[in-house]
Symmetry: C2
Amino acid sequence: MSELKPGRSFVSAQQVAELAGVSRSAVSRTFTDGASVSETTRKKVLEAAETLGYHVNHLARSLIHEDSGIVCLIGADINTPYHSRLLDAITRRLQAINRVAMVINTSGDSDSVDAALRQTLNYRANATVVLSGTPPASLINTCINSGQHVILINRDDHLDGPENITVDNAAAAREAFHMLHRAGCRRIAVVSSQAGTPSLVARERAFEAAAGEAGLSVTITRAGPTGYGAGFEAGRLLLSGSDRPDAAFCVTDLLACGFMDAARVEFGMNVPAELCVVGFDDIEQAGWASYQLTTFRQPIDQVADHITKLLDSDDPEPAQGGRVCFHADPVWRKTVRPK
Amino acid sequence: MSELKPGRSFVSAQQVAELAGVSRSAVSRTFTDGASVSETTRKKVLEAAETLGYHVNHLARSLIHEDSGIVCLIGADINTPYHSRLLDAITRRLQAINRVAMVINTSGDSDSVDAALRQTLNYRANATVVLSGTPPASLINTCINSGQHVILINRDDHLDGPENITVDNAAAAREAFHMLHRAGCRRIAVVSSQAGTPSLVARERAFEAAAGEAGLSVTITRAGPTGYGAGFEAGRLLLSGSDRPDAAFCVTDLLACGFMDAARVEFGMNVPAELCVVGFDDIEQAGWASYQLTTFRQPIDQVADHITKLLDSDDPEPAQGGRVCFHADPVWRKTVRPK
DNA sequence: GCAGCCGTTGCACATTTGTGCAAAGCCAAA
DNA sequence: TTTGGCTTTGCACAAATGTGCAACGGCTGC
């Protein structure tokens, strides 16, 4: 008879079996879908499990199956509106398909992406979703060789091997330019950040190229990290000069909010009469009455759905790897003049 | 000789041992701190592990030690500024003490807190931190009996057993009243939500009580869930009447932002000249130039530090269970008239 | 050269679970 | 009653790891 002191550690199937008067196998089969147990023993086992507070040890279960049920989400800046919404959408869907999310926060030191990917491997995660940051290729290969899914979001590097989910930043940025151009804007600024993320760079480049095709040149300002403060600072710099821009494409809604606040509070400007603004992401604040920001909606639900499809083993027709690209649709609000 | 096809599954210590020409024990000891291995075999093992892409299986390791290194974070609305910041702070610190965070999102169905707590037990989590929601007492007891830490944040129920971390909502709400009262406000509204969370209720009650002591009565409006939209709606309702309030205590910054926007955009009111506003949480947006909201700062870092202290086994003097209460300090900005 | 000591190594067992295989039990039909 | 078939059950092994114990090797001091 095993020790039965209830106060210290987890209950094992052995203890349940002894209390129920059956073999440990019977306990195991009771908690395994599709296994053969008679109704009477099942009942005895469930009752014993209930009184002892037994819960199947998924760690041990994962030793046998190759499926741990764990999905690692690696990302930085998860306190940011866009990232936290993405995290919310993904975790919710993962639970719906019986996976559990392990979140690794790579804000802070730069080499922590390495450590994060190693954790992923240590815990035999079923898949790894990289929301931001640049993981070293060697570790990615280890993940894939070990049979893990690796899903990169908004990374244009690492072409082969991992599954890539991207947003068509270039198309949206071109569309942003034409929105502003059609509104009559000719002195257009681009407000970006010093982060240099592939997404942000793609938006800058495509916007600049579209402007070039229309015979316009743009000035790009990168006043700090991708956030409200950098947008505000960019506004202060750009609008204090003699030839103010009449429009700005902010590569992020947070930058746009900061930029608009600088324009209105520091310079008393009227948006969109004197200054048109277009953002990117469609964070919640973009819809607030103080901003009413015209922007592009990140296809967060589509991205999360696609991840689900990649990982759901019960899906009749699971999506296959490679590259997927979703479109970011414009959201018309009030920071661009109509017509 | 084990199968050595690299393309399918995880590498085991056995395979590393065979390649390095040592026993499996030597491999295990190489990756165990403080175990006795000679420098030469350690080197051979590390080299073999590197070429094969070996990573210690933490699941198997956790079978032996009782320490899985996993900490479950259970919460809803993680896309909200306050919750996402809390999540960010906690995950960051957990990694610093070699724990990994498993996030369970309980937005959605109401009974998902049960399921979340069961997951916690299934994965033998070292500890469970409940950020929001009301877990059933029976499951909490199972967690504690199994040797888990259970940490409840901002829950005033469940007094014994789990460790409680709370914020002194009542003191802050009283202070909020006196700030408004001293500013000369006499027709004060309380803007709350239909959520009925213990924190929110505590703020409402304490504010109302403080007003009562000063001989004032307040009207409480609950126009929807705890968010910008409900604050906006509350503003619309409260300010359209004939006797407008001259101040509002919003139990959340999000509500305050919505309320202010309604006041300014829908009614053209001037804050703080005609209307003083006090919020709670000190989310990032409270500091934006458009709001400059006077509010109370959630002691997020203190809470996260305390959790760390509770869980860090290396800590020389770990904090002991029971109840801890942190103070929410006022942050003076510009939505309350000075003097 | 030999005894003693210390660092290193391998064997075997422990952790918890799922499952193939064979035995056993049960029910019905002949 | 016996036989056949089907369900249920227990044994034993598998998964990957940590570790106590004993053995082994090498080094040093006498």
